[in-house]
Amino acid sequence: MTTLTDPPRESFRLSMLIYDTRYRSMTIQVVAMICFMLMAAWLINNTTQNLESLGKKIEFGFLAEPAGYDINQRLIDYTSRDTHLRASFVGLLNTLLVAVMGCVLATILGVFIGVLRLSKNWLIARIMTIYVEMFRNVPVLLWIVLFMAVLIETLPSPRAFRGDNATASMWLGDTMAVTNRGVYIPEPLFSRPLGDLPVFGAFNISLELLLLVAILIAGLFGARVIGKRADAVQEATGDRPTTWYIQLGVVLLPLIAALLAMGFHLGYPELKGFNFAGGIHMRNSLIALWLALSFYTAAFIAEIVRAGILAISKGQTEAANALGMRPGRTMRLVILPQALRVIIPPLISNYLNLTKNSSLAIAVGYMDITGTLGGITMNQTGRELECLLMLMLVYLAISLTISGVMNWYNERVKLVER
């Protein structure tokens, strides 16, 4: 007679932690965790010891002290009696300013060059290839200092604009002055201003700008509603009403009305004494940084655009033609939506690179956040740990925001496969 017995119960042995794949991953993770904690503890321990021996404490009180240095290119009011925090904020705005300007110019140039690189014209394609290789293979820092040096050495000084036999003249009908001290462009002025809106008592937002932005957004929204209605009519009847001029009017007319109501006019730069006065003064450091970053990034964007267009197989164009679509519609409805899916993610990561590269502003003395918080503030107060921590967090926040936008877009346009 046989009896069934349970298989021998496997008792847990210590060696199973290593040799049994069920437990091994746990062991590895625990060991990794312990190593990581030990490492972190070691670093923190070293830091506290070192700070103690230097007689420093980690504190951020220095941010409320007066900065004591000037920032010549700024978007909001600032004097040297303001705090370090405000100086950093001015720097942050400067970073964002050059990043946005750079992204816009780089995109325009990059798309232009990328499309021309695919031109059937052999000569044009070669010239654009040379542009791309030239800018991609030379460090961006070299381009920045080169642009700065060229601006300073080759442009006329304000003195050259003076007198009856001036050797230099202003551009665009005396509205814009390009000098070796920077570029002076007209500034928007309002003869019936609305005043400023203080935000947290820290800085003022001009109400005019706020109003214009609000009107613009409302106009765009209205235009979209009209477009939706046209869609509905098209769905129902098959005929699409022509609405583009109504949409344009909805966007533009209120804007123009608001501008007229506030008495909009331009203030032009004028030569006064040894320098120009009036207008907006864009300093050489800003211009050099902006142009160098844009030209450099444009070379990368051109390659992305080219790759995106080449990635769409020819069958798509042919299929669209077979359906009877005209070339314009083929481009708009078939090629571009697919190409954009390939183009946009690397494009955004290039925007991110441009923003990070704008930290090289310190090489030409443009006061971005690296120049203020990570430069003069850090050197004046000797608070390296706090300043660098804040600097890194700011850049990290910008990066994570941009990559969050990218992930959202990727999720939205993802190909839904079977």
């Binding site: 990794a32 044009i124 961006v140």
Partner: protein, 451 residues
């Protein structure tokens, strides 16, 4: 019936295509003048090219090689072409400073420690013998890795190079690199002979621990002892004397060489299903990629010593190398992760079904394919790292851009722009462009072709 035939019985001889569709004319009709818009574009670009080339030639052809200052340059140009010669190059700055742009303040004859520029001391090696030899060795070490049809024995140079490079550049006794290399041999021997006795895991731990102890405690005394018997030493050179392209290439080579293995490990960590390991890798990669390199260099120059045990103070170039390597490794990890993600799942499953363990599968099946897919990304990361070495000028190291700032601040050369920056740009261009061409060659060579 007449034998009139209405059908031609023999073929006409083939005629040459019309003259306008072959040869140069045909080519330019097709590629340059295919329509009115294209013709206008072609003519405009021809005018543009003419202006650029004539402008550059007019500027570059300038007999100022012997000048010692910008003022002298202007006199020479005025003497040769008269007053209205326009903007002309001043090549004297390159002749006078090119050694500095190449080597910084590296002493040319470090056989005698105090001998700097000037006449060679008695019995000295040729000028800049050590950095030049290091560069030649670098080429010899890299070439067998790049081109697989070269003799495999050259890989021994590649293996020895990481130990020879610091010795050649910084000097000191040869015993240190030999003993450091011996550490790897010891680790291998331990793995080979101790593992069968104590088991694989314990053997592995021993093989890591014994060399670490060796490097930590045995090398210093042993190197002293050996060098007291037989010095084998060359004079030391301080890090602050490093500069120019030598510095860029040194930092670039170290960062490139170390970032690839580190990046592979990080990518594997990020792809693994061990939660804690993955989170650590993701955190590290995203942090490094989220901040600009310049902030990491600030950390290297001001903060790194605070994180280390009190009293540690090591070389600024070494600190910069560590930071640039970490920076490059994070980017490399993302590139390789892209390659890993692009592999079809069947490859992983095939490796599993063959009974390969994790590391065998990675080494034999996954990595060769993933790395092949990511070659363009890897090489463009390399190029990026090499270009980013210029950022060290901001923290005060004398790379070519740092030197160009001091040259332009010099009284004699105040106002020089194009010659100096052009020279630096051309050198960087040569390095980066040849790297990108090599990656294209490699892609073609490795293409096993499924399409």
């Amino acid at each position: 019936m007449s034998d009139v035939s209405f059908v031609r019985t023999e073929m006409l001889p083939q005629q040459a295509p019309p003259a306008t569709s072959v040869g140069l004319v045909g080519w330019s009709r097709e590629n340059l003048f295919s329509g009115p818009v294209n013709s206008i574009l072609t003519i405009l670009s021809l005018i543009f090219i003419y202006f650029v080339i004539s402008g550059v030639l007019h500027w570059a052809i300038s007999p100022t090689w012997a000048a010692t200052s910008l003022g002298e340059c202007r006199e020479m140009i005025a003497a040769a072409y008269g007053e209205g010669a326009g903007h002309k190059a001043c090549w004297g700055v390159i002749r006078e400073r090119w050694l500095q742009l190449m080597y910084g303040f590296y002493p040319p004859y470090p056989v005698v420690p105090s001998a700097n520029f000037g006449a060679a001391p008695e019995g000295a090696w040729p000028a800049f013998f050590r950095p030049n030899l290091a560069f030649v060795l670098l080429v010899l070490a890299v070439v067998p890795v790049l081109f697989s049809n070269l003799p495999r024995k050259m890989l021994w140079i590649t293996a020895a190079f990481p130990f020879l490079l610091p010795w050649l550049l910084w000097g000191g006794t040869l015993w240190t690199p030999i003993l450091v290399a011996l550490g790897f041999v010891i680790g291998y021997l331990v793995m080979r002979f101790a593992a069968p006795v104590v088991g694989t895991i314990a053997g592995f731990i021993l093989a890591v621990a014994v060399p670490l102890l060796w490097w930590g405690f045995a090398i210093g005394p042993l190197a002293d002892a050996f060098s007291s018997v037989l010095p084998l030493a060359i004079p030391e050179v301080q890090s602050r004397d490093f500069g120019g392209f030598m510095l860029s290439i040194t930092i670039g080579v170290v960062a490139i060489g170390c970032s690839l293995p580190l990046g592979i490990l990080l990518a594997l960590g990020r792809q693994s299903n061990l939660l804690i390991l993955r989170s650590i890798c993701i955190g590290f990669i995203e942090f490094i990629r989220g901040v600009p390199l310049i902030t990491l260099l600030f950390v290297a120059s001001t903060l790194l010593n605070i994180f280390l045990p009190p009293g540690t103070n090591f070389d600024i170039i070494l600190r910069v190398m560590i930071m640039v390597t970490l920076f490059a490794a994070a980017y490399m990890a993302e590139v390789i992760r892209g390659g890993l993600a692009a592999l079809p799942k069947g490859q992983y499953e095939g490796a599993d079904s063959l009974g390969l363990n994790y590391w065998q599968a990675q080494r034999l099946i996954i990595m060769p394919q993933a790395l092949k897919i990511s070659i363009p990304g890897i090489v463009s990361t390399f190029i990026g790292v090499f270009k980013d070495t210029t950022l060290v000028s901001i923290i005060g190291l004398l790379d070519p851009i740092g030197l160009s700032n001091s040259i332009r601040a010099d009284q004699a050369w105040n106002g020089i722009v194009w010659e100096l920056y052009g020279f630096i740009a051309v050198l960087f261009f040569i390095f980066c462009f040849s790297m990108s061409r090599y990656s294209m060659y490699l892609e073609r060579k490795l293409q096993t072709g499924h399409r």
